[in-house]
């Protein structure tokens, strides 16, 4: 079974995003970029399926700027077998929307014929939480979003999902799309020898035009601003003082 994992290059989760003074977006020039944390989890899950003998090949795909090749190398160093980079933008500030990414991924799936796609639940830059579900729609496949446990069982996958009320377990027919939530696994770090080996693994480069996909945004970003800040509060010296303040504020 072949497993496809889409990975996105995003601002590192430790970096606080700064809005540009002219309101045109978030400043990404000279900012540390990394693999989207949920995608590390997705890659890890795919590699574990390979280690268990359930999967035989793990292919990683990224859509975006050329620099996303670094993100793909990270995935290869973790243990993915090969990578496809789809260049769709030349400015790091140009984000490709989930609908366009899903259309490109659909074309890749049509070519590669994986039985399973494991995406991340959400990209931590635009917080869309959409691409996996959209890809499932375009392919006419079943979906198991927000997975915290995945078991492949012949022609279906049993997936436990993190939902508002707790956990829900469903069975979804293969081929299917799974999106990874935080507690699916703890991703490994790539070892130095594996980072060296990853440099020799195949990385094909394509463009969005190769797949005939129009990546023009449907949501035009009119402006980007900082959220309203909170007024600085005070430190209280004791529990009694805290209780007094809360009474004053009328919240208890």
């Amino acid at each position: 079974m072949k497993v496809l994992v889409p990975v996105k290059r995003v601002i590192d989760y430790n970096v606080k995003a700064r809005v540009k003074a002219d309101g045109s977006g978030v400043d990404l020039a000279n900012v540390k970029m990394s693999m989207n944390p949920f995608d590390e989890i997705a890659v890890e899950e795919a590699i574990r399926l390979k280690e268990k003998g359930v999967a035989d090949e793990v292919v990683v795909v990224s859509v975006g700027v050329k620099q996303a090749a670094e993100t793909l190398r990270t995935a290869l160093a973790m243990g993915a077998d090969r990578a496809i980079l789809v260049v769709a933008a030349d400015d790091v500030h140009q984000d490709i929307e989930p609908l366009a990414v899903a259309k490109i991924l659909k074309a890749v799936v049509d070519q590669e014929q994986p039985r399973l796609v494991i995406a991340g639940k959400q990209a931590i830059d635009n917080d869309m939480n959409a691409t996996g579900q959209m890809l499932a729609a375009l392919l006419g496949w079943g979906q198991a979003a927000f997975a915290s446990k995945v078991e492949i069982d012949g022609d279906s996958a049993k997936v436990t999902r993190e939902v508002d009320g707790g956990l829900q377990t469903i069975s979804v027919a293969l081929p299917a799309i799974v999106t990874a939530d935080l507690r699916l696994n703890e991703p490994r770090y790539a070892s130095l020898p594996n980072i060296m080996k990853a440099k020799k693994k195949p990385l094909e480069e394509r463009t969005a035009a190769d797949y005939g996909v129009d990546v023009a945004p449907r949501l035009e970003v009119v402006s980007t601003r900082e959220p309203e800040g909170r007024q600085a509060g005070i430190k209280v010296g004791s529990v009694d003082e805290l209780v007094g303040k809360l009474k004053e504020a009328g919240v208890i």
Partner: protein, 308 residues
């Protein structure tokens, strides 16, 4: 213009708070039709009909909608979509599962977590863990969106909208329900509670989380947690507050043993009054807290509970 709103129906019951907040947000766009789908959805539909501002309620009661599986629910919404310009749902996990699928089937880009409606095409939404607010203008013919409930007040009661049956759509039959693991609780629901007490890694164990729960019970509050507390097994997954958990905006939020990572702040910084209890006076949570208490939670929290 007409709006189709997917009502939040869980196990036959309407999540009235989430649904009413979405109604309030969407009412300026036009007549709001609420769709209630489920294996049992008639009671929920009757309840939705009483929300002020609802024009009409459609009910789709059938086993295929029983567990809110994405494929049959999306197929149903798409089959009804022709009559509406806006198709929306409150931003619950169910909606986040279903609405992007609906959008893709309609060749539209979903607009997630709308926090303000500027006009029929233009919406605000938080991005980058709430560190930026984006205004986006949709070029799609149909707008498919989810509503960030923490940003809106709930519509009131007193409505009496007509309820009718929706034509059911074929079930693509791609997935099936296996089981639920839902902990029953007498506490208020996290996203609608007026008060929330959350514990973090500092609480140290599942057993010691009882300290947090005791304070919450004294305040009549819901219980939340940081990701670290959930990952460590101190608290169940559905208590997680943050960028990738639940978003809350209660009157009072008490963060105990939580450092204040941006991902956590994304889920609670719209709370009216924030209290932080942490033994590290440098903890970033103090930068956004109205009242900060530096101290050991194992002594201060029981003392606080006792004095309330």
């Amino acid at each position: 213009m007409a709006v189709l709103l997917l009502g939040e129906v869980n196990h036959g019951t309407l999540n009235r708070d989430a649904t009413a907040k979405a109604v309030h947000a969407l009412a300026p766009l036009g007549d709001v039709t609420v769709l209630c789908a489920g294996a049992h959805a008639r009671d929920a539909a009757a309840d939705a009909a009483t929300i002020a501002g609802v024009a009409r309620v459609l009910v789709a009661e059938d086993a295929r909608y029983g567990h809110r599986l994405a494929e049959p629910t999306a197929a149903l919404i798409v089959s009804l979509a022709g009559d509406y310009d806006h198709i929306a749902a409150p931003s619950t996990t169910d909606a986040k599962n279903v609405m992007p699928r609906v959008a893709a089937l309609l060749d539209a880009m979903v607009i997630p977590d709308v926090s303000r409606i500027v006009d029929a095409q233009t919406f605000e939404r938080p991005v980058y863990a709430g560190n930026a607010i984006q205004t986006v203008r949709s070029r799609d013919a149909k707008k498919v969106m989810t509503i960030r409930t923490a940003s809106f007040d709930a519509a009131g009661a007193g409505g009496s909208a007509p309820v009718s049956d929706a034509t059911l759509a074929d079930d693509p039959g791609l997935s099936s329900w296996v089981g639920d693991e839902v902990a029953a609780s007498d506490r208020p629901e996290l996203t609608s509670a007026g008060r929330v007490v959350s514990g973090g890694r500092g609480v140290g164990s599942k057993e010691q989380f009882a300290i947090i729960e005791a304070l919450a019970d004294k305040l009549g509050a819901a219980v939340g947690a940081s990701r670290a507390a959930v990952d460590s097994g101190y608290a169940p997954n559905d208590w997680q507050v943050g960028q990738t958990g639940k978003v809350v905006a209660p009157e009072l939020y008490v963060a105990v043993g939580i450092s204040g990572a941006i991902q956590h702040l994304a889920g609670m910084k719209d709370s009216k009054v924030i209290v932080a209890i942490n033994k590290d006076e440098e903890a970033p949570i103090f930068q956004i807290a109205d009242y900060g208490l530096v101290g050991d939670l194992f002594t201060t929290v029981p003392e606080l509970t006792g004095k309330l």
